[in-house]
Amino acid sequence: MKLCCHDLTRKFGDTVALNRVNLCLEEPKICGLLGRNGAGKTTLLRLMTNYIQPNEGSITMDERNLWENEKALQQIFFVTENSYFGEMTAQKLIDFMAGAYPNFDKEQCLAYAKRFELSLNKKYPTLSTGYKSVLRAILALSAHTPFLFLDEPTLGMDAFHRELFYKLLIESYSEAPSCILLSTHLIGEVEGLLENVIILDHGKVLIDESAEKLLSQGYCVSGRISEVDDYCSGKKVIGSNSVGGLKTAAILGEHTAVPDTLDVTGLSLQQLFVQLVGSENPS
């Protein structure tokens, strides 16, 4: 199954939230959807789930238009902070999911609920922010739809629940792989998980690449200011930072012979992200 966005544009009044976005999601993979606040992540997710219509462009599932296409939409499950679950209790929602998604694994979902110590007889609106996230997460991880969109899935969860969530995400994914689009600000927490990285910036796709390839494109050197500056001349520096006499520079490109006096480290996704979309370094 192939979910594609073609020249997707969406405006809200005068603001262009998304600007000619082209994107394809296909095989089972864990993808990160990263971007600063207002970059268009949520708008993109809402467009891809029938919540709103694009002003221009289209979204297709296997060449068919996605808008109001129930069969195609059933291949996608999307949870966000604003997901609406009415006044239903956790138990009722789990029962309802079983009717709405043929591959939903009720046993698994109930087992997950137990591990998170979620009380099943509480109504969704009465749960705390963290437990709302827990309920959304366990519904999503048991849905087993070919596409799963998670928008800030760990919002408000405590450290223990976050760890458990990532663990169950991997277990559920290993058992039955699907295309998971993970939108989050906590890049440090997920960077090992991501196979693909999509970075949105000001409504445009800045990066759409495998994490490994993306990270291999950059590295960090640090050392005395003058030596770092010498080394960096002629290279694509995407960011730098100096503390006292020590300077650290993030460089894009193949890494060439580095003098012994400089330290070389890899770039973490978080660092790379900050350097790429930071407003202090408009490129």
């Binding site: 994914y173 058992e175 960077e191 090992g192 480290t265």
Partner: protein
Amino acid sequence: MKIDFQSQTPIFLQVSQGLEDEILSGIYGEEEQIPSITELAANYKINPATALKGINLLVDAGIVYKKRGIGMFVASGALQKLKEKRQEEFFQQYVLPLVQEAKRLNIEPQTLREWIERGFTQ
């Protein structure tokens, strides 16, 4: 094993090296089971594909092998193989640079040998 996302070494290499270390230090004996891909991925919060890539390196090198439907096991003779491999790496990584530097400083092989022996006794 510890995964360092900031290291220059790709994560899948860190996985295979970490497992090698654990086999060398005897955490997993020969013919004993090592963690599954899912366990590795879930424990270190890495993508299962990455964990698989790391383990496949060990499979290709004959260090571990797959038992269908059961899991991954340390091959017999793996310890020996790993030691030989690490010894070769030791020669490349430590001895060659040592000798090179010694030549630059005009240190006689005899002296170097004596120094190494002194190092062993300390």
